[in-house]
Amino acid sequence: MSLGDSASDVGKVRGLGSARAGGTDWLAERVSSVALLLLGAWFLASLLFLPKLDQRTLVEWLRSAAGAVPMALFVIVGFWHAVDGLKQAVDDYVHGEVGRWFVNTLILFVAVAGASLCLFALGKIAFGAAA
């Protein structure tokens, strides 16, 4: 029995139990939440302890591996967790298979676009010419 198939035999007969891939989503959301616990704390601590928050200081910070790598992870895991979390709300409150699919797909597209913009910006900062 896979995580996505958590219905008991009686549950299957009654058409109840796991909503297909729920178990995998559930676990993935928790794994990304633990990662964000660390990355979120890092992000906040960084903003607190950077000497200044002007553009020059931030560029210098994000040009170093110690800044750029956790930030890239924060972006990826952050958007990932957001998609998982918003999907949960959409699955609960948007009724109808088509509408649900449409909203979830739209969220996914926007999230991938946003994460890509962030990674592009990070790449430009890290690998671009020094200011």
Binding site: K12, V13, A19, S33, L37, R56, V75, G78, A89, Y93
Partner: protein
């Protein structure tokens, strides 16, 4: 052939009796959605502005000192801490702990008090209250 019944749908706000447990659960979703939409949009904008150079960055930085900018930032800080503490509570509850009525209620209230305290402390520090 399975006797398919309608899948259970999630209850809306209107049918719950208000209490700390349900309030924190709903706030967890609202703060999560806020962080996903407003928080990630701002993170994307911020990284793009840093990559864009001094001028692009000062446009964004200028807004954060205005009252509406502060409302967004303080709101996001609170949402971050609320979602973080409530998320930790969920991880604890995932292990099966904290379901007794008293402990559950106390945990829910603790996340609210904790998030307000953490937000106040962080902004007091930021505003230079401890210098």
């Amino acid at each position: 052939m399975a006797a398919v019944r309608e899948r259970p749908t999630s209850p809306h706000l209107t049918i719950w009796r208000w209490g700390p447990g349900m309030a924190v659960s709903i706030i967890h979703r609202i703060s999560g959605a806020g962080l996903s939409v407003v928080g990630l949009a701002l993170l994307t904008w911020w990284l793009m502005a840093i990559a864009g150079g001094q001028e692009a960055y000062s446009t964004l930085a200028g807004m954060t000192s205005r009252w509406y900018g502060l409302v967004v930032l303080v709101g996001l800080t609170w949402a971050f801490f609320q979602h973080l503490f409530s998320g930790i509570r969920h991880l604890v509850m995932d292990t099966g702990m904290g379901f007794e009525l008293k402990a559950n209620k106390a945990g829910a209230i603790a996340t609210i008090l904790g998030s307000i305290a953490a937000t106040a402390l962080l902004w007091a520090y930021w505003m230079g209250a401890f210098k």
